[in-house]
Each structure stands twice: as C-alpha cells, then as structure tokens.
Amino acid sequence: MEEITVQFMLNGKAVRVETPPAFTLLRLLRERLGLTGTKPGCERGECGACTVLLDGEPVNSCLILAPQVEGREVLTIEGLADGDKLNPIQEAFIEKSAVQCGYCIPGMIMSATALLDTNPEPSRDEIKTAISGNLCRCTGYTKIIRAIEVAAERIRKR
C-alpha cells in the first residue's frame, strides 16, 4: 500500500510525516515519530493506555487511523511538560504516589488533562467518569483520583 503524507499539529508544533494508510495514530506516534509515551494496551479501545487528545478531546489513538488526523491537533503525554518542568497534573501524580507499574499513567494523565481543561472544579464522581475509560491493573485508582483532585486545586489557585 502506498504511503500517505499527513500534516497536523503535534504538541503545538506542525509536523509532516509519511504513513502507511492502515497505520493507527498510536503506531504513527510510536513508530514514525518516536513518541513512545503513548502506550499500546488492548488495541481495541477498552483500556485507555493509548489515550491522546484530538482537538482537546480524549480519544483512543488505537482506534484512529493516521490519515484521519490531517489538519487536526494532537496532544500526547510528551506535550505536557514545559521543558524539564512537569505540569501540575504530572507533579501531583508523583507527589501522591499515584503511580504503581506506570503503564496506564500517560493515558490517565491525558484523560485528567481533558477533564481539568473543561471543568476546573470537578467532583469525585466527575473525576471517576473522566477516567472510566482508563484501566489500571495495579488497582491504584484511589491515589489517581486523589492526585487529580490535588492537581485541580493547584491549577485553580494559580
């Protein structure tokens, strides 16, 4: 199959990249663009490890074809920190020990980012709904939820 050129905004920068037409966005990010923070898990939209933001909305990058992001804006876990400075959600996850094996965490943080961007004062139930598409097999949800609450408080105070 002939490769297709795709142009889109990735973590705030314009990129232009060749892709096989049947590549998922997940594979494009990891295999062509070297951004391995986005994790492959179930690759069928059920675990959320591959969550990225597409035009600000959380999506499973395993269920989007690379050519579909033409002209769109993609934000991955690599786009959150400002240089070496982590953003408040990332800091809160570390501080609250919300990370066990860590594999689900990039997806969790992307879902949390989408939530706090649109709802800076979420209830516990709203946080649970926001991360309901992200599975943590270490069963560390309590600390993840706490970290998102702490991050929300800090973002509001800034």
Partner: protein, 281 residues
C-alpha cells in the same frame, strides 16, 4: 492491518463511490467498531472510505417540533447536548452510557445503528422516541421507521450503495417523560446485558400513552406491547409499577448468551422499568 484509505470530499462523491459496487470497500465513521473488526480479522476490507468530512451528516437541529441528528453526531455530543436533554432525555441517557469517554467522543449515532447490535445502547431510546432513519443513494432517498430498520443480529436494511444520512424524531413535549436504564457487568466499557427505555405522556398523574423498548434481550431491540397496554390509563402507583415490572419480565423472553442468562435478563428488564417509572411517579 492493510487497506487503502480514501477521504470522501462531498456527499455526492461518497454516493458516487458507493454506487460503483466495490465489495471490498467499507465506510469509516467513528471507527470504534470497524477498526476492532479489522484487528480481529472478522473483515479485511481493501479500502476504507472516510466520511468524517461530510458536513451534511453533522449537526443537531430542531425544526417544527422534530429533531434531526446528522449520522456523524457522536455519542459524546448527544450526551452533552442541552436541547436533547430537554427534548430527548432517553437518548441522552443512553448515549452517556456507551463505552467510555474516549469511545463516546469517536463513536457515531449512525454507526451505532448500522452496526445493528441488539445491545447498541442508542437503539432502544430511538425506538421509544419513534425515530426514522434517512438512507441516501445516488438514485434517491428513503426514510425507514426505526422498528423496520433492523432485520437480525448485526443486520439491517441498508444497501451497500446507501449511506445513513440522518435520524429524525418528534421532540418530547412538556407532558412527556422518558428514561433509559442499562445493566452491564460494570459501569464503563461494558456491553449491556439488558437495557430498558421508555417514553410516556403523563397527564394529571395518569399514563396517557407509553412506549417501552428492551435492548439486548433478542436478535433486535423489542417493544413490550402488553406492558404498554397495561400501563395505559393508569396512575403510577407502587402496585401498578410492580405489576408492570412483572409483565415486562414475562414478555421480555430474553436470550441466553455469553453475557447473561435469559431468566436474569427478564427479571432485570422488569426491574429497570420499575426503577425508571418510580422516579416519575
């Protein structure tokens, strides 16, 4: 996965392409089912036709008391829509329970219909809202009542040269109430074991009319006509609701499959109806 990718630039172009009769072509909308089917090697299309750019298939509008949903409207858009919350609550509640936030942001209402799964959560809601589905081909358009749209498990009347364009239904009025209740293994990312949707007109506490639809109990979504007849003309007193739940469980006659047994589904179909009605009593 190996296939070619083609983007439809206009509705006219999409319908031309579909009229060519290429059997290896599949239509790509949200992709939340299609790409999983390809991963699982259930299908191996030669080309995917991406219709996401088609403006005619977008938008939520109300005119002359009818609501129109473009086929590409996502479950997330429906779940968050203020107009629909006021005038199509069962649909809002059903779309809010589909998959996960990520799936709701991608999966489309048109895709949910065309996949024709008996457990598609938007379907019972569209049954009780009395929806119609518009299908368009190069040669013309036809409008199918939702109850005539499905012919079996994952089967519906759409032809390979047709595209599902929109779904329309009457907006609920001030005396109308409705709900959608679902039971799955867990709250998120769980296919329904059973779901119950209803729309009723209540005047002075009396049920003037009611439509009830049950999801995931049979090869297609089913209405519960005996329960509907029983409730019509009655007030929602506790004993009436109990009897309605019993009747509903009796007429559900659900299938047994990997997700649940028929007996459990029957009981739960009635219970979900009772829970919904209790809130309206």
């Amino acid at each position: 996965m190996k296939f070619n990718y083609r983007r439809a630039g206009s509705l006219k172009e999409a319908l031309e392409i579909l009229s060519e009769g290429d059997e290896s072509l599949k239509i790509l909308a949200g992709g939340t089912d299609l790409l999983v089917m390809i991963q699982d090697k259930l299908i191996s299309p030669g080309v995917l036709l991406d219709i996401n750019g088609l403006e005619e298939l977008k938008g939520i509008e109300e005119s002359n008391g009818r609501i129109r949903l473009g086929a590409l409207v996502s479950h997330g858009q429906i779940a968050a829509d203020k107009l629909l919350r006021e005038k199509a609550l069962p649909l809002v509640e059903s779309c809010g329970e589909v998959g996960s936030p990520q799936i709701r942001n991608r999966g489309t209402i048109g895709g949910n219909l065309v996949m024709a799964s008996p457990s598609g959560d938007s379907i019972p809601a569209l049954y009780v809202l009395g929806a119609e589905v518009s299908l368009k081909s190069r040669d013309g358009e036809r409008v199918i009542p939702i109850e005539d749209f499905f012919t079996g498990v994952k089967k519906c009347v759409i032809r390979p040269d047709e595209l599902l364009i929109s779904i329309t239904f009457p907006a609920l009025g001030p005396d109308d109430r409705g709900f959608f209740k679902k039971l799955g293994q867990r709250k998120a990312l769980a296919i329904s074991k059973v779901s119950t949707a209803a729309v009723l007109t209540l005047r002075a506490g009396v049920v003037v009319s009611i439509r009830i639809a049950l999801g995931a109990v049979g090869t297609t979504v089913l209405r519960a006509p005996r329960t509907e007849a029983f409730l019509t003309g009655k007030s929602l007193a506790p004993e009436v609701i109990t009897e309605a739940a019993r009747l509903c469980a009796e007429e559900s006659r659900a299938i047994t499959d990997i997700r649940s047994t028929g007996a459990y589904r029957d009981e739960m179909a009635g219970l979900l109806l009772a829970r919904g009605l209790e809130k309206l009593a």
